[in-house]
Symmetry: C2
Subunit: 333 residues, 2 copies
């Protein structure tokens, strides 16, 4: 994980980089070549939630999404790590209800909403989060919809269940290699391993899907379009995916993943970006993905919502600026 890693982001305080985040990143083309590589692209990683659009491929490619009448908004939720705001909770709840399913059919576990207002409201009301608030509830609603379509059993999160077998097949197809192992994700679904480079190439495959007509590519193009059309559904207020997708000067699909993962899909250029902060830091992944998109010209480094992740000020409890986050020089060079 560390071998060959290079600095991605620095945390400055006074005249010193108080902390430094290393990692690996690629900007990949669909032909399998890398336009740029940083660190060690062959490092084996778990892309975590950055793989959600891959996990959603069978939902669309199988015909399950159309059979269930899912909209572009549903597909964005299937690719989301949302913040459990009313917007997300209600949409996923309605989706399940329309499928004659309920919160109890989910297997993602209950997670407190990241949405601050909702969380405080819940505490004031003496309430508790349920599985709809889980950031992965849209992905799991997609799993459930595919499960119904396949007539398969209820434990859809288990690695040998047809839903996860299909997810693995899609993952190995788009990364163009066998996944040697998986880890169990925060939401209990298997998360398949690959390399940073293969993940970048998979994102380039998504970025070029609109130019192909095979069923998997047609599904991929619809998922990319859904993410770009619904940035609030993909994450939420104040979140990097949402704000950077909105700030982009061209259509870009962005997706964070736990432990410092981030991907970008650039359909107008046919490019895919994948990066992993080796220490798992989200602040580094957000800064680095912003830097790479500035480097490519898809983000303006002066846009306030870009500055917020690319080069944010660090303020203390009295509001005094005590430092800042900076992308490492190499990402811009």
């Amino acid at each position: 994980m560390i071998a060959g890693a290079i600095p991605l982001a620095e945390i400055w305080r006074g005249p010193i980089a108080e902390s430094v985040h290393l990692g690996h990143a690629v900007i990949a083309r669909d032909d399998g070549t890398l336009e740029d590589a940083f660190g060690a692209p062959e490092t084996m990683v778990l892309p975590r939630s950055s793989a959600k659009m891959i996990q959603a491929l069978p939902l669309v490619a199988s015909g399950a999404a159309d059979a269930a009448g899912l909209s572009s908004r549903h597909l964005a939720l299937a690719c989301a790590s949302h913040e459990g705001a009313p917007l997300h909770v209600e949409a996923v709840g309605d989706w399940l209800e329309a499928r004659r399913l309920s919160e109890a059919d989910l297997r993602c576990g209950a997670q407190p909403p990241r949405d601050r207002a909702l969380k405080h409201e819940m505490i004031r009301a003496g309430g508790a989060p349920d599985q709809l608030h889980n950031n992965c509830s849209g992905k799991h609603a997609g799993f459930l919809t595919l499960m119904q379509h396949l007539g398969a059993g209820a434990e859809y999160h288990e690695a040998d269940h047809p839903v996860q077998v299909a997810a693995r097949e899609a993952f190995e197809t788009v990364t163009d290699r066998t996944s040697p192992f998986y880890g169990i994700d925060g939401c209990s679904a298997p998360n398949f391993a690959t390399t940073v480079a293969a993940m970048g190439r998979a994102m380039a495959w998504f970025a070029t899907a609109h130019g192909r007509s095979d069923p998997l590519s047609l599904a991929a193009a619809r998922l990319v379009q859904a993410m770009i059309a619904h940035p609030m559904e993909v994450a939420g207020e104040g979140r990097a995916c949402t704000l950077l997708m909105r700030a982009a000067t061209e259509p870009v699909a962005l997706k964070t993943g736990a432990e410092g993962f981030f991907i970008a899909i650039l359909p107008e250029r046919g490019l895919g970006v994948a990066l992993k902060a080796a220490d798992g830091a989200t602040r580094a992944a957000e800064c680095a993905v912003a830097a790479l998109l500035v480097r490519l010209g898809a983000l303006d480094s002066r846009h306030p919502d870009v500055v917020r992740f690319l080069n944010p000020e660090i303020r203390n409890f009295r509001g005094v600026v005590t430092g800042q986050i900076r992308p490492a020089d190499g990402l811009f060079a």
Copy 2:
């Protein structure tokens, strides 16, 4: 910061170290030699809250603490990064009141309590945190007490104020070198820079203070004794400093600092430990300091409160174990 850093802790998920934390650490003797060194001990760092017992030295050495009738418990609070639990908030409030001071005299800023029960209670009551809840309020009560003793102005947090000039002089004395610069800390006070090795030696100086009779050493011995006697005051329920001090098989003073810092003071051995996770991760610093204390024999690796930081399981939202944190091999070797 990164040059020469070595792995301190690994975050495992399935069969892979999904993330790895690098850093630097020393186990130092008071004679200036290092019993052990990991990474690059000459790396320049900001020790952040791990320096609080140094910042509290002038409070005691000046006679201000005795003139104000401060107890051992007050001295522990002066060295604390507490969680803003009622225990801490009330004790600091009483301290200020006894000095005819109030919350408004603090300059640390308001911070929501880390204590979960209190935070939720505050949200339910529609309340807001004040400066007493700030994890540094005890340190600042100490600054205010010294300020009164010196008859100095109200802005005691400013770098050229007599309180901070005294803190800098103490810092340079115990680290035995000039501090080349400072950063502004989360609580608005200057935080002086030094090397990991010098910080380790300073902690060894604290660990041997009880054997000396100069005023600064007498003050240091009292502060170490206060921290060891009052682990709840130094941090709080569930926190690493508190639990590891309680679990230790001999008297040990422990203090965390922001951005992945940690120190340990071992008076029975005359040893000091200082470590910095280069990426700023607290989970790495907690794991590594536990590992070094196990290595030294001051912690039992099977004690549940040691396991909690040394080798904790990572559970997902359904309570399934998905991985674990492990100290890097080198720390035990």
